[in-house]
Structures are given as C-alpha cells and as structure tokens.
C-alpha cells in the first residue's frame, strides 16, 4: 500500500472501535490499488458490454464511498487476520464489533446454521467470526479484515495434483478454474493461488494472497513471473467483466507457495471479486496506521 493511502491516528482508541472502523472502511471504500486497476481497465476496454460493466462498477464505487454505504449487498463473511502481539481478548473485541457493525454499517445478516439454514441475524454463530492468528515477535498488533462474498468464495477449488503433473498441470488447473467460474464471481477480480503445503494450508494461502495490494511485487522473481504469465493468459481468454466478454477478466493474480510432501502437489484457487474489500490497522503503543492491504 502506498503511504499516501494510509491514515495515522493517535491512541488511545479501544480495540473494538478500531475493528468497527475497519469493517466500515472495508464495506464502503474500495482499496486504492483495486480502484486504480478498475479505472485502467475501463480505459483500455473496447467491447461496449465490457465498458458498460466497468462503468457501472466505477459509478457504484463512487456512490458507495460518497454515501457511506456498503458497495455490495453481499457484505460477505468477514475474514480476520491478527498478527504481531496480542492476547485472547481480541476475539471478544472482534465478535462485538461484527455484531455492532451488522446494525450500524449495516451489514447483511449472512450466517446460517449449515444444516437447518436458520439465520443468526447478527453475522455470528458457531465458528464465527472467522479469525486467523499469526503471532510474531513484532512490537505491533495488526488487525486485517477481508469481506468475502459467496459469489467468489463458492468458486474455491483445491486439487491434489500428482508431482508429475508439474507446473504445466498447475497452470492449467488455475486457468480452468477461473474460466469455469465464468461470470459467477463478479469478474474482473483477483485470483488467489496456493501452491504446495498441506491441503488445508494450500487453501489458506490462496485466500491470504488476496490481502496483498495488486501493485506489490512478489519478492520471489519466479512467483512474480508466474503471476504475470497467468495474468496475461487469463485476460487473453476474452471472458471479460461479468463473463459477458471483454479484455479484462482479472485485475491481478497473487500466488503463494509452501513446501509440500514429496508425493504431493496441492494447488488451490480462491477468487476475489472486484469488490475484494479489505482494511488493515497496525496498532503500536503510540498510534494506529490504517491501510487497505498487506502482505501476510
């Protein structure tokens, strides 16, 4: 995230309040990197249907920010990442903030019992909110949130490839997953990819990758090259915004890798829609820095 897009606030501010700020910002303001990518796409599209889709997205984004309203009615499942130093009280703060924001933002009540399909009405329930913890020796507490709608989340795929399938197999699986998803995950968005790890870690990497700003380069040149290759290939498909045809199917591809078993080659795809809504607060003893993307 560029420094210009971050905002510094002096402490003290209760943690619950900070999390509420994150949920409100994520819902109403598109991350700057995605906003730029959408503007750029609108500039180069020549297909009139694609132009209409991108125009409608950009107009909607402007209205949402201006009117302080959620940019999409699917306010998703908020996925939290807590990194740095923290204690177990953070879960309570997150839970309370989710409940408060369901009313105040407002966020659509999205959580149901998976078997009897009864809605809790407050975006809580068994296993919710979804929180991932990353303890480190750092001197800050960093809370990040991503709002993940079902249109994109339902397109998630994991495949345990054979090592002999190699990188060709990996690339094919990723491209096929995006094309099969078609217009359902509201393209153009971001393709999060996990390669390696165990099955569960592979999917977690694919999702975590979506937290990273599009304009951030991967430190590993091989991964960076793979991301660029996939970006060009997927966009040359012509699937286009909303799957209605055009030159912009994805705004970016983000890949993560981890070592895996000698007999495994897991690959996971987790698509983020154009409304990949994120917000981050890094809290130190003296201040809070807000931004809308981070590499986790």
């Amino acid at each position: 995230m560029s420094p210009s897009d971050s905002m510094v606030v002096k402490l003290p501010e209760p943690t619950e309040k900070i999390i509420e700020n994150l949920l409100r910002v994520a819902n109403t303001k598109i991350p700057e990197d995605i906003g730029w990518a959408l503007e750029a796409a609108a500039g180069w599209e020549t297909n009139p249907t694609a132009q209409a889709q991108l125009g409608a997205i950009l107009e909607n984004v402007r209205k949402a920010e201006h009117m302080y309203k959620p940019m999409c009615q699917d306010t998703g499942i908020p996925i939290f990442y807590v990194r740095g130093k923290f204690d177990s009280s953070i879960a309570k703060d997150i839970t309370q903030a989710v409940e408060n924001c369901t009313k105040s933002v407002p966020m659509r009540p999205n959580t149901v019992d998976p078997i009897i399909r009864v809605n809790s009405g407050n975006n809580l329930g068994l296993g919710m909110p979804c929180i991932h913890y990353i303890p480190t020796d750092d001197d800050f507490t960093e809370i990040s949130v991503m709002l993940k709608g079902a249109g994109s989340e339902n397109m998630t795929k994991l495949k345990m490839l054979n090592p002999s399938d190699g990188m060709e197999g990996v690339k094919k699986f990723i491209i096929d997953s995006v094309i099969d998803a078609g217009g359902r995950p509201c393209p153009p968005g971001i393709v999060g990819v996990g390669i390696g790890g165990t099955a569960d870690e592979c999917v977690a990497m694919a999702k975590r990758a979506l937290m990273e700003p599009l304009d951030m380069e991967d430190p590993d040149p091989e991964i960076q090259a793979l991301e660029e290759e996939l970006f060009v290939k997927i966009n040359s498909s012509g699937l286009g915004p909303m799957g209605l045809g055009g030159d912009t199917t994805v705004l970016g591809v983000k890949v993560r890798k981890a070592y895996c078993h000698i007999a495994s080659l897991p690959v996971a795809v987790n698509i983020g829609c154009w409304a990949t809504r994120r917000a981050v607060a890094r809290i130190t003893d003296s201040d809070i820095v807000y931004s809308q993307g981070v590499r986790l």
Binding site: P48, T49, A52, Q53, G55, A56, I57, E59, N60, K63, A64, M67, K69, P70, M71, C72, Q73, D74, T75, P106, M107, R108, P109, N110, N119, G121, G149, A150, G151, N154, I175, I179, G182, G183, R184, C186, K233, S236, S237, G238, L239, G240, P241, M242, G243, L244, G245, C273, W274, A275
Partner: protein, 192 residues
Amino acid sequence: MKTLYSPLDEKSVRSLKLGDIVSITGPVYTGRDEVHIRALEYLDEGKEVPQCLKEAVLYHCGPIMVEDKEGKWSVVAAGPTTSARMNTLEPRFIREFKIRAIIGKGGMSREVAEAMKEVGCVYLAATGGAAVSYAEGLSRVTGRDWADLGMPEALWHFETRSLGPLVVAIDSEGNSLYDKVREKVAENLSKQ
C-alpha cells in the same frame, strides 16, 4: 439505454435482442433460493402462492434493507446474486408463473434458456456488486411476502425507476451471450 416498462408483455420481451442494454421501470420482485423452493413446494401442496409472481420481473437479489421507527422499509444495497444456484428450480418456476424477465448475474443453464424460449422470457444481466446503484433504481418498497425467510431471502416487492444497466444476455429464442463468450474463450485459449 432503452427503458422497459413492467409488467412486460410477451411481445415486447420477444422483441429484445442479445446484447441490448436496457433499464426497467415498474414493479420488480426479488426471489432467490428460498423463494424458489417454497413457491414450488406450495404449488405441490396446493397452498397459495403470492399472486405478484404471475408474469413478473424476477430479481435474483438478497437486498440489505432497513426498517425505520414507523416500520417503513427502505433499501440500502441491492445488487444481483449468482443466478446459477437457481438452475434446477428455474425452468419449472418460469413455466408455472410465466415469468417475463429474470435479472441476475452469471447466466443460467441451457434448461432455463429452453423454458425462457417456450414462455417468452429474457435473462437480463445486472452488473454484479453494483449494489448502491441498483438500490437507487429500486425506488420504493411496496410490499413483502415470506418475511420469515429472513431479510436476504424474503420476497420483496419494489417499484423501480430506471433500474439498470441491464444487458440482454439470454433472449427469448434461448440464445445466450454466455454461450457465445464461452465459445470465443475456448477458441482464444486453444491458440495459446
């Protein structure tokens, strides 16, 4: 952008061409998974189904609504939901209620397109996620059925004004823009 005035008649629906960009003014009703399931169940059981569905413009949408102190509802955000989830229920739904237009995102199956062709119905693709803009088009809430299904799943009645942009993505001949794009995509990818 051409304006369509709902309720729509078969003739005006049949005159729409693939790729036309339109907006709708007039009554529109929301229905997603649960409305489809319940409506068809009630028909089987001989129970009464809301009359408004007859020849309706159906919007695959689960809106965010707020109720004021006087119990008056208004819409905050209301973009389309993924229509493919309703693929298995929609053909019968279209035939039973003579649905004239479906607004949604992502497209629908061949079986649905066949039912559309038979009845005289079109699929209008709304821009996914453009929830604030579409909420502006849903200018007035005129009613609600099946409130027990919860806010997103209930059958909301709206009076719309210039609800759009909407792209005619499956026409009443069963032609699908999604199929055309898919063919092109397969061709483009095979060249790589």
